[in-house]
Every structure is written in structure tokens, then in C-alpha cells.
């Protein structure tokens, strides 16, 4: 039996009239007509992605400027030239994914968990290749926790502003959308830390700075799940 025969069998099966209740169609049409008002379609995906990217950049720059741009002054040219473009690419990809999650029927480029894993491990690999000071300082944990908290605190406004920008969209998978937005917001925090934090010990950067990403993504996913259940 060829594929065409199966196609024909399916079409024949589907051609059997599935009589829809006219009253049901009328009821649906009536309820739609009763609340019909013009709506403005969402802006293009590129505009939204650019908006999200600018939000993250603005939060990171404003935060670092407020706390002091010590990190960027301590980084060498090569280190800066690798870290910031990598963060920019990761942020753009996360923004693209977050926008796609809020527009039903958008093309799927990558799943949010894959982006989180690939992006996070990619950043760790970049940090590992650039920083070779593997000593553990006495104040490893207090310094690390301070950086983690600062990163997460900067992810909050970035996440809120991103949600405001995307609020007219609709997530068919709220947890995935929350994960994508949380990942995006975390990158504002990580970028701020790279601009601000003068501690270039490999383990500090690899562990405490990148820890902002999974924590913020997880918070985004949990919040989205909570809101979806309440809806």
C-alpha cells in the first residue's frame, strides 16, 4: 500500500459529513460579535526582540554604572572582546526565544531548556578558557553570595520590564515562556556583574556569576506556572 493510497483513505474517511450543530456556530459567532472591538496586532518579532535586548543592556549598564565599573577596567582587551559579544549573542538568542514563546505558532528555533544549558555551559567554557587563577580565596562564599544577590537583584527589573513588553502576547506553554524570560533577565544580571565585579578568580566567575542564570530561569518558570494555575 503506497503513501498515496493512505492519503486517499484518510481523505475518504474525512469526507464523511461531520454535521456541526448550526446553533453551536451561531452561539459562538454571537458571543464573539457581542464583544468585538478593534485590536492592534503585536509588533513585529524583530521589534520586540530589539526592545528586550535594549532593556537588558540598559539594566546592566545602569546597574554597573551605579555600583562602579571596576570589572571592565580590570579585564584585558581579549577578555572583554570575548565575554561581552558572547553575552550579547546569548541575550539576543534568549530574547528571540522569549518573543517566540509569547506568539502562538511561531517557528521553533531552540527549546528554552536547551538554550539555558547551551548558553550557561558556553559561558562557563569561555570563563574557564580566559581565567586561570583557581585559588579559593578566604572570602570565596561571602564575596560570591554578594555577587549572586547583586546579579539576581538586577535580573528582577529586567524580568519585569520584559514582561511588560511581552504582556500582550500569549504563552501556549507558560513554563517554557517563564524559563525563557527568566534566562533573558538573568543575562542583564550577569552582564552587570562582568562590568562591575573586579574579582577575576576563575572559580568565583564560573560559579557565582553564572549561577544567576539557572536561578533566575527557575524563578521565571515557577512564577509563570503559578500565574498559569491562577488563570
Amino acid at each position: 500500500m503506497s503513501e498515496r493510497d493512505i492519503d486517499d483513505a484518510l481523505r475518504q474517511a474525512a469526507s464523511a459529513p461531520d454535521a456541526m450543530d448550526p446553533a453551536l456556530l451561531e452561539r459562538i459567532s454571537g458571543s464573539i460579535r457581542s464583544s468585538l472591538a478593534p485590536v492592534r496586532p503585536l509588533p513585529s518579532a524583530w521589534l520586540l526582540v530589539s526592545g528586550l535586548f535594549l532593556i537588558c543592556a540598559a539594566v546592566a549598564l545602569a546597574g554597573a554604572a551605579h555600583l562602579g565599573l571596576y570589572g571592565i577596567h580590570k579585564l584585558s582587551g581579549t577578555e572583554g572582546a570575548l565575554i561581552f559579544p558572547a553575552l550579547a549573542i546569548f541575550t539576543w538568542a534568549a530574547a528571540l526565544l522569549a518573543v517566540g514563546q509569547m506568539m502562538p505558532g511561531s517557528p521553533r528555533r531552540l527549546s528554552p531548556p536547551s538554550l539555558l544549558a547551551c548558553g550557561g555551559l558556553g559561558l562557563v567554557a569561555i570563563f574557564a578558557s580566559l581565567f586561570h587563577d583557581y585559588r579559593i580565596a578566604d572570602r570565596f562564599v561571602p564575596q560570591g553570595v554578594a555577587c549572586l544577590v547583586a546579579g539576581l537583584l538586577h535580573a528582577v527589573p529586567a524580568g519585569l520590564a520584559s514582561w511588560l513588553l511581552l504582556r500582550r502576547g500569549f504563552a501556549v506553554n507558560p513554563v517554557a515562556a517563564g524559563l525563557a524570560t527568566g534566562t533573558l533577565a538573568s543575562l542583564a544580571g550577569v552582564t552587570m556583574l562582568e562590568l562591575h565585579c573586579p574579582n577575576l578568580e576563575a572559580l568565583h566567575v564560573m560559579f557565582w556569576h553564572t549561577a544567576v542564570i539557572p536561578l533566575s530561569a527557575l524563578a521565571g518558570a515557577l512564577l509563570a506556572r503559578l500565574f498559569a494555575r491562577r488563570r
Binding site: D8, R40, V172
Partner: protein, 189 residues
């Protein structure tokens, strides 16, 4: 069914508040959605409920359709969401319910005749849900692989794989039913 360009035009008019376009869309897309739900559900009542829920949801989020984009992936993505949401809600409610008395059994044959379109439903009944929806979108709604991938939030490769597996099962099933070939006069062009 209308072409995707025509559906796109109707969607744009619907977003502008045109009630004639809204009615035309309901009449044009409801049979497609109803068939989608019929092959996934057990009864017409559920399919009718899901259809109404889908239209309500679709109406609430109609701004998320972007003019120029294909309509069917957007529509099916929302329909899938409503189906999954409905299924979860029903399961939650059923898990809390305590049946105190057994309901009288309704003869299956009698309800089958009136509640379902047996041919398509029975033909696809043996397939897993994910394969069933791919077959309906790909072969009955004439969507492209890319459009089905958009609607199901999966990759084109995954859609191809599901369609391939579904066809292997359908081939076996049709051969078992004694349908070896469809006559040339029965072919639909």
C-alpha cells in the same frame, strides 16, 4: 476551506473589529477545529465544549496573530493549548470526585452512531495523540511540515518522524482492515 491568504485577510479584518469577518472565520474554521478535537476526544460533547473554549481563547488573544503570517499554525497552537488545559482541568476535577453510585451503562454501539464520525475517528484511533494531530494537520488541513512544526512547537524533523511512524501504523491497520488500494474512481484530487 479558504486559502491561507484569504484566511489572513479575514483575520486582519477580524482584528479591526469587522463582525462579518468574525462570523465568516467561525463558519470556515470551526469544522476544521471540530474535526481536530473529534479525533482526539471520546465524544462529540467534549469536542463541542473544546470548540467553544477555543473560540473564546482565540478571541481573547486575537492580537497575537500577526498579519502576513500563516493562520493555521496559530490556530492549531491555540487549539492544542485549550485541549491540554481542558484535559488537565478535567483530570484535576475527576481526581477529587467520589462516585457514590454507579451510572447506568449506555450501550456503546448506540452512542457511537450518533456521537462520532466513525470512519476517521476509528482509522486514527490506534495512533498516539501526537501522531494523530500531525496526520490531521498535515494530510487533512494540508499544512506544510514547517507549519505543523510551528503549531506543535516542535522541529520539522520531529514532525517528519511522527508522520512516518503514523503512516507505518496506518498501513498496517488498513491492510488488516482489508483495504489494499483505493480505486481510481474513489480518489480525491
Amino acid at each position: 476551506m479558504l486559502s491561507d491568504a484569504d484566511l489572513g485577510t479575514l483575520m486582519a479584518r477580524y482584528q479591526q473589529g469587522d463582525s462579518a469577518a468574525a462570523t465568516a472565520l467561525v463558519h470556515c474554521l470551526s469544522p476544521v477545529l471540530h474535526r481536530f478535537f473529534m479525533v482526539q476526544c471520546v465524544s462529540r460533547r467534549y469536542a463541542d465544549d473544546l470548540l467553544q473554549e477555543t473560540w473564546l481563547r482565540l478571541h481573547e488573544v486575537r492580537q497575537t496573530y500577526r498579519p502576513g503570517e500563516p493562520v493555521l499554525p496559530w490556530l492549531y497552537a491555540l487549539a492544542r493549548h485549550v485541549r491540554v488545559d481542558h484535559y488537565r482541568r478535567t483530570r484535576r476535577v475527576e481526581s477529587r470526585e467520589q462516585q457514590v453510585e454507579k451510572l447506568p451503562e449506555i450501550p456503546a454501539g448506540a452512542s457511537r452512531r450518533t456521537d462520532r464520525s466513525p470512519d476517521l475517528v476509528e482509522l486514527l484511533a490506534g495512533l498516539p495523540e501526537s501522531q494523530r494531530e500531525v496526520v490531521v494537520m498535515l494530510k487533512l488541513s494540508d499544512m506544510s511540515l514547517d507549519e505543523v512544526a510551528r503549531a506543535t512547537s516542535s522541529s520539522v524533523g520531529s514532525v517528519k518522524q511522527k508522520a512516518h511512524r503514523a503512516y507505518a501504523s496506518l498501513r498496517q491497520r488498513l491492510t488488516g482492515m482489508g483495504v489494499s488500494q483505493v480505486g481510481p474512481g474513489d480518489r480525491h484530487e
